[in-house]
Amino acid sequence: MGKTIETDVKMVDLSTNIGGVVIKNPVMTASGTFGYGEEMSPYIDLSTFGAIIVKGISLKPRKGNPAPRIVETPSGLINAIGLQNVGLDAFVDEKLPLLKDCGSPVIVNIFGETIDEYCLLAEKLGHVDGIAGIELNISCPNVKKGGMEFGRQPEDAYRLVRAVKHSAKLPIITKLSPNVGDIREMASSVEEAGSDAVSLINTITAMSIDIEKRRPRLFNVIGGLSGPAIRPIAVRMVWEAAGAVDIPVIGIGGIMTYEDAIEFIIAGACAVQIGTANFIDPTIGLKVLKGIKTYLKSHSIQRLSDIIGCIRGQIYTLHKNSNL
């Protein structure tokens, strides 16, 4: 009995093409929450995922911020890690060997402080074996613009993505910041600049204060909020972005269960990334994947693509037919 269900579930078509990266299923890991894969391999088979997105990499290693770096808030987590990472060379020499044969495509999340740094990273990664794509973290301060993040203004994001696209042979996913006025404008401008896909959302800027000590709880004062607390905001932004662009949209933000993942997919995401939930349950990726399969099967849906953004037409009809 169990076996029949298993075979049937396997028949559901979960594959998608994300701007040139073919993925076998829509469940990915979110950057900064899955280490470089090696930390998670004792708990979960790394071949489970549609793609593994590794911790953000810069040209040179970065130390990161002093502690405290994290604080828990209601159904959320504020972090100010400060983009600590081993740097490109150590990543390629020490971390990539385990990852590249793990059975899931590897997407490298990158960031820099200047456009040139981003371009150099993208170009160098293009010569490395075993990398399926690049995710551009544009929520990094631009030192040439007084520290204003690339991801805050559509023009800055446009310039960055365009330049990187010229330097890179690999597919580019631009990871959007939610800390902007209009997410649709941001999505459109990076699409126009040539981005092959967008992923969203990165963390929402946030702050928490210890009222007894009358001190900020993070050394960095401000950090980025993630976890279930941000999910409804993320779903809204994915909905808006998916309505504004034709390139694939990857949904991120507070996904803890397969139901949450399905919600993003219905809002218009072709795939999802799981972040903070990995901290609580390192096997969560597999659970979400199994749940998605079972959901599709029990609702007699043959292909995942049948429900991606499926409420769009329906809402239009609903509104047209209402007399309000």
């Binding site: 900064g32 929450t33 899955f34 280490g35 930390e39 998670m40 004792p42 708990y43 911790k55 130390k63 990161g64 002093p66 502690a67 405290p68 770096r69 994290i70 604080v71 828990e72 209601p74 159904s75 959320g76 987590l77 972090n79 890690i81 600590q84 976890g227 279930p228 803890m256 269960t257 903070t276 990995n278 901290f279 609580i280 349950d281 390192p282 096997t283």
Partner: protein, 276 residues
């Protein structure tokens, strides 16, 4: 390390806000080394407030390696929820995690220094030492707290032949003052000359112990407490400042090292105490 579901065997208050919880988890109980820890979830994984799992050391392994006993102190929301668990309730466990106390010859004598619930990892450590070769190794426990309520589990240690040096800030038990003052007094008078020191407690206490150890050139290992996001090395939230491995740069350059993976036990020589 594994991810398992444990069943609460007992959970009782042994002193004001101190609890002992026995958890059946035979899958992991046999592989624990002294000083390692578990990430524990005392509530369902579909409840997100509190969101994160909490780190706890192991007080001892119980039965025929059928489970673990945790000694914990209620300090906030997570530990309060823990304190309400009853026999047969379930907890989520990931572990054993991290690197524990170094397992090698401990020389002629060991001094353990603990503040409050920092006493927790030392019982398992002592048991381990007693069961292995050094049955007669002289062990002294300097245990400090703010008052009588913090003087927990002393009998357990006495039963293993540990010499106890208690101190309380209010003077209700033992030496009046900080545990580090009690230790300093004995080190200065050469009442003790431990060949090793181990410490667990608040960071300020660890720093004092570390400075004494470095001054007197006594090998010393401390278990560092840190707020943990994941406990398994992925979030980089738990870091402490350590000296660079490259010795030529060791005094000028530092790096942030994960307490959950490279610790929680560190050699005091590796930590940048002046920056803590």
């Amino acid at each position: 390390m594994k991810q398992v579901i444990g069943k609460v065997l007992y959970n009782s208050e042994i002193s004001q806000s101190y609890f002992k919880m026995g958890i059946a988890c035979s899958d992991v109980a046999s592989s624990i080394l002294p000083g390692q820890f578990f990430m524990l979830r005392a509530w369902s994984d579909t409840e997100y407030d509190p969101l994160l799992n909490r780190p706890f050391g192991v007080y001892r392994v119980i039965g025929e390696e059928e489970g673990v006993e945790i000694l914990y102190r209620v300090v906030g929301r997570g530990t309060r929820i823990m304190s309400q668990l009853r026999h047969r309730d379930f907890v989520g466990l990931i572990g054993p995690l991290g690197k524990g106390f170094p397992i090698y010859e401990y020389g002629d004598s060991v001094a353990m220094i603990s503040g409050g619930v920092g006493i927790a990892p030392f019982y398992f450590f002592t048991q381990w030492i007693r069961n292995k070769k050094s049955y007669n190794l002289p062990i002294t426990l300097y245990h400090g707290g703010s008052g009588m309520d913090d003087m927990v589990c002393i009998e357990d240690f006495e039963a293993l032949g540990v010499e106890i040096k208690s101190s309380t800030e209010d003077g209700s038990v033992g030496f009046k003052g900080y545990v580090t003052d009690n230790l300093r007094k004995d080190l200065e008078k050469k009442n003790i000359m431990p060949s090793f020191m181990l410490a667990c407690g608040p960071k300020a206490m660890l720093k004092e112990v570390a400075l004494m150890a470095l001054k007197d050139d006594i090998p010393c290992f401390v278990s560092i407490d840190s707020v943990m996001g994941c406990g398994i090395g992925t979030c980089l939230g738990c870091v402490v400042k350590t000296r660079k491995k490259d010795k030529s740069k060791a005094d000028t350059e530092f790096e942030y090292t994960r307490v959950c993976m490279e610790g929680p036990v560190f050699d005091v020589k590796d930590i940048l105490w002046e920056k803590l």
